[in-house]
């Protein structure tokens, strides 16, 4: 196990990410508020550069109490990273696809220490 320095905390803006390269390994480190999350830059669908895609809120169907649809809504608290190759979306906090719990990103532990963000890799 070793630590890799990614960036200072103030170098990663809220709802943004830094994608670093360590040898053949690419890791995206995301910031949501004061929390940081690290995922491998490799989409489980077909190997796309998932962490280099757009960050967008989850979309839900806007149903009323009578089950009638009124279109779409964004969910501010569910922030997704979207693979730029084919559009697979994953919750940045959990790394899980919204419609398939078996589709998951490969994650790494993140350490925040003395104003620096680090990831732990094998």
């Amino acid at each position: 196990m070793r630590e890799i320095f990614v960036a200072n905390t103030d170098e990663i803006e809220d709802r943004e990410r830094v994608v670093i390269v360590d040898g053949s390994l690419e890791i995206g480190v995301f910031r949501l508020g004061d929390d940081f999350f690290a995922w491998e830059n490799n989409c489980p669908h077909s190997g796309g550069p998932i962490c280099q895609g757009r960050i967008m809120n989850r979309v839900i169907e806007n149903l009323d109490e009578n089950k009638k649809s009124h279109g779409f809504l964004y969910v501010d608290e569910d922030v997704h990273i979207i693979c730029p190759w084919h559009g697979f979306e994953f919750n940045i906090r959990t790394g899980v696809h919204p419609g398939d719990s078996q589709a998951k990103l490969n994650g790494f532990d993140v350490l925040v220490r003395n104003g620096g963000v680090y990831v732990e890799i094998e």
Partner: protein, 410 residues
């Protein structure tokens, strides 16, 4: 910083203007990991870029009045002139989620060769391809153009532009020329003019059209193709205007159904009307309907044919037997259920009848790894699907380095 105190290299966010070599950097990694430079790979369907070239293509229109009229579009730029595209083409990028889904907007510095060739080379190099067939987005819909003769004007211009301007630049780029079958005579002229021309791999009928392909008016065309030993491809496209699809409210639904529906109709007409018996040497290829529909149509037609064979008297075998002798592209390969995919591939003789297609840069493109990583195919079948089946189908020359490899294996 790493252990040496150096800050790590970082990667940029991918947007609509990102260089496709960067978008596809992981494709290159996959190619390296699988040694694709030692695998003969033909991509028989890509849609690299005709948006920026469209004004240039308009200059190849023969009719002086129509050619002049093209200049009246888009503030005189000719961009999008005469297009009759449905909303589907503009919705490919999933509302901005897939940047390249609206076409490749990257910079190309080398102005000495067509931009399409440069973009094709970038894709081929990253994916590990030996040949790539390019086909224009805009032509996918013109079979439904309200001005019937517009199909002929645009097809003639595109075919000439491709043959004269693009294909001579790089022998790895190939074309499946557009047949404007709203006029059988114009389609026949296209075959007469271009069959065997350098870089021309075969001919395409776009499937989004209301033209029964078994109609007697097309028999001469098919006879010419068979005689000239040219493959005939049917390329699917979305359709949101027909009565049934018009009930669909989301593009996911339109894409899932209508890319299959058009080819279901044409393939059914092709088989039930006995075209494989009439033209037994004419090789047909069905493009971009995926594979799952084949499990349905082979079973459905066999089941019904056995009860109603008098309505298909030209058939001497089960419909599925004719279908299993046709060619199909792999893309977009439905691979969420490997058992169903394996059964489907078995039903259509995948090792000899499937050909790889990327559909790059569309949102549902497939890389060669989509075939190479399948757990149930042996390596020989994978190599056939990725390249050798296409070489047989289109009479493509297999590069010498692979021929040496084949001899070594013997």
């Amino acid at each position: 910083m790493d252990e040496s105190g150096q800050k790590k290299k970082s990667l940029d966010i991918i947007n609509a203007r990102t260089d496709s070599r960067d978008i596809l950097s992981h494709a290159r990694q996959q190619a390296n990991a699988r040694d694709f430079d030692d695998v003969f790979i033909v991509d028989i369907d890509s849609h690299i870029d005709d948006i920026s070239a469209w004004p240039e293509i308009m200059d190849f229109i023969e009719d002086p009045v129509i050619r002049d009229a093209a200049g009246s579009f888009s503030g005189g730029t000719k961009r999008g002139a005469f297009h009759n595209g449905t909303p589907g083409l503009q919705w490919q990028n999933v509302w901005g989620r897939i940047p390249h889904g609206q076409g490749l907007k990257e910079d190309v510095d080398d102005k000495t060769i067509p931009r399409e060739v440069t973009l094709s080379r970038r894709a081929m190099d990253q994916m590990g391809l030996d040949y790539q067939v390019v086909f224009p987005n805009a032509l996918l819909y013109i079979g439904m153009h309200p001005v019937k003769e517009m199909e002929i004007h645009l097809a003639k211009a595109y075919n000439r532009w491709l043959v004269e301007h693009v294909l001579p630049v790089d022998q790895r780029v190939k074309g499946l020329l557009y047949l404007p079958i709203n006029s059988p005579e114009a389609a026949e002229e296209t075959v007469r003019k271009y069959a065997g021309a350098p870089g021309v791999a075969g001919f395409t009928i776009t499937s989004s059209r209301h033209a029964p392909i078994h109609s007697n008016q097309y028999m001469k065309l098919y006879a010419m193709l068979e005689e000239a030993d040219q493959a005939l491809a049917f390329h699917a496209a979305p359709n949101w205007e027909d009565e049934y699809p018009s009930q669909l409210n989301r593009f996911i639904s339109v894409h899932a159904l209508t890319f299959v529906l058009c080819n279901l109709v044409h393939l059914t007409n092709w088989v039930i009307n006995g075209l494989p018996e009439r033209f037994p040497k004419l090789r047909t290829l069905w493009i971009e309907s995926g594979l799952a529909w084949l499990a349905f149509i082979t079973q459905r037609l066999d089941n019904e044919y056995l009860m109603r064979s008098s309505e298909a008297p030209l058939l001497k075998r089960l419909p599925s037997e004719y279908i299993s002798e046709m060619f199909f592209t792999t893309q977009p390969m439905e691979r969420t259920n490997m058992n169903l995919l394996e059964a489907t591939m078995d039903a259509v003789n995948a090792p000899t009848q499937l050909v790889y297609a990327s559909d790059w840069p569309h949102w549902d493109f497939d890389l060669p790894s989509s075939v190479w990583d399948l757990p149930f195919l042996d390596e020989s079948a994978k190599r056939n699907i990725l390249g050798y089946n296409a070489a047989n189908l289109f009479n493509l020359e297999v590069p010498e380095k692979y021929q040496k490899r084949a001899h070594a294996a013997e």
